[in-house]
């Protein structure tokens, strides 16, 4: 059995997939990380202080994990969900009752989504408490706030999709707040002066109409599944890149580090 493994490791197939051996040299260790598309976003080495969970909390990484979970479960859900008012609720019921593992996937999606909102809050709280927004990390804090807003928008758009009473009224209330936006809402200050009416203001833009209806569902579906995840991914890339460039995850002052 061990002989077989050795022979397999020498084949061309193996060597073209696994390009570096397990030789324990500094160069080889770096190469294994840097030459791997999934691993190279992470630096080759991190300071030991980066593993101090009581300081870092790890909430940023957990948020990323939950984001990936929502994406994977979301795609799986897309095989059965139709974003049409006629079918949305029915498809959700179908998933819950007639599809094997349907309830598991839907519930995982929901839990990961709720969890992600909690973990971004905890992450933001930790960053604040450790002063990790101070120079040179100010810009990254701003990007983080943007990501927070995107997370909340993802939650909001996703909430409409089951098209049940809870969904429709939540979106009604939320978008009714939009009509009071200054300048852009037809009931907000200076809105009417700028020619805002119920059929052309920012609330109309969100709803695709003057009320919550089938156009809203389609619009929110596209926002939830394509637009917001893409924008969030772009900003996440910027966010992670800035962490690296700003000196890695922040830790206590170098003099005070215990490890």
């Amino acid at each position: 059995m061990p002989g077989l493994m050795e022979k397999f490791r020498k084949t061309d197939v193996y060597k073209s997939i696994f390009r570096h051996s397990y030789q324990d040299t500094q160069r080889n260790r770096a190469l294994q990380i840097v030459d791997n598309v999934f691993l190279h976003l992470h630096p080759v080495r991190v300071g030991r202080h980066a593993t101090n969970l009581s300081y870092t909390w790890g909430m940023g990484g957990i948020t990323l994990l939950l984001f990936l979970v929502t994406i994977i479960t979301g795609v799986i859900l897309m095989f059965y969900y139709r974003p049409a008012a006629q079918y949305a609720y029915e498809d959700m019921k179908y998933l819950m009752n007639d599809v094997p593992f349907g309830p598991l996937i839907r519930n995982m999606h929901r839990w990961a989504a709720h969890g992600m909102v909690i973990t971004v809050m905890l992450h933001m709280f930790r960053v604040f408490l450790t002063g990790s927004y101070k120079p040179p990390r100010q810009f990254n804090w701003a990007v983080g706030v943007l990501l927070l807003v995107l997370t909340l928008m993802l939650s909001f758009t996703g909430y409409l999709l089951p098209w049940d009473q809870l969904s429709i009224w939540a979106v009604t209330v939320g978008t009714n707040m939009a009509r009071a936006t200054p300048l852009l809402g037809h009931e907000g200050p200076f809105g009417s002066q700028l020619g805002m009416r119920p059929d052309n203001d920012v609330r109309f833009l969100l709803l695709g109409g003057t009320q919550v209806g089938p156009p809203t569902l389609l619009r929110f579906y596209v926002l939830h599944c394509i637009f917001l995840p893409l924008v969030a991914s772009v900003f996440m890339a910027v966010h992670f890149w800035r962490v690296r460039k700003d000196g890695g995850i922040s830790g206590p002052e170098t003099g005070k580090r215990t490890s």
Binding site: R45, R48, F79, Y94, P100, G248, T254
Partner: protein, 233 residues
């Protein structure tokens, strides 16, 4: 790089915990070479290592010499294999679960069985087209009984037409032609039309089931269900 300096604190700061402590890693500069030969003081004797005799286990507790035992691997390899097995099991279960997810338990497709009226209402020798548009089936009555042809051209799936004047089925797409019994004789079609199950329902009506098919080229036209013997009025 800010990241590097966290790990490799240079020779200026002596790490409190030097886990390696190997004499081979010399971070300091090479020791200066001395020109004048100096008698180096003799090294102190290394402390004698005192070993207390290991209490010998009883003979029956010791494994026989060189015998790796029934497992033939050490604990480390066993745990490593167990770890990989656990991971692969998870992957396998996920794949199976995902595949199973793709096959819902309930479908909303129209039923394949339908009743086609009473046998007496059919004319012997006639190709009945009443169910061609709704069910895509021709029902043919002969002197001995009934058979049902599925109106899907076996070339590429169009719906052929029955031409009573020429006594043949003719497909408008590429000209495939079939005799009244469904056997192909002209055009690009490679095989005869398929027959559907014909039976009698409880109330005496003809019962056609399109999900049960019979192919001539597989010698299935003789099988029960492919032909309904009926010699009544």
């Amino acid at each position: 790089m800010a990241e590097d300096q966290a790990v490799n604190s240079g020779p200026a700061v002596e790490p409190a915990v030097s886990s390696q402590g190997s004499a081979l890693e010399t971070k300091s500069a090479t020791p200066p070479t001395s020109e004048v030969p100096v008698a180096t003081p003799p090294r102190p004797e290394p402390p004698k290592i005192v070993t207390t005799p290991v209490p010998r286990k009883a003979k029956q507790d010791r494994p026989p010499n060189q015998d790796p035992g029934i497992w033939r691997m050490n604990r480390r390899n066993f745990l490593s294999a167990a770890g990989w097995l656990g991971f692969l099991t998870f992957i396998f279960a996920s794949v199976v679960g995902a595949l199973r997810y793709m096959f819902p338990r309930i479908l909303f497709e129209p039923p394949t069985k339908f009743k086609a009226g009473f046998p007496e209402d059919y004319v012997i020798g006639d190709v009945n087209e009443s169910y061609k548009d709704t069910q895509r089936v021709w029902i043919v009555r002969e002197k001995e009984g009934f058979y049902a042809l599925i109106a899907i051209c076996t070339h590429l799936g169009c719906t052929p037409n029955w031409l009573p004047a020429e006594n043949k089925f003719k497909c408008p797409c590429h000209g495939s032609g079939y005799y009244k019994n469904g056997i192909n004789f002209e055009g690009p079609t490679p095989r005869p039309l398929e027959r559907a199950y014909v039976g009698l329902a409880d109330d005496g009506q003809l019962l056609i089931d399109k999900s049960i098919k019979f192919r001539y080229e597989l010698d299935e036209w003789g099988k029960p269900g492919s032909y309904l013997k009926y010699t009544g009025v």
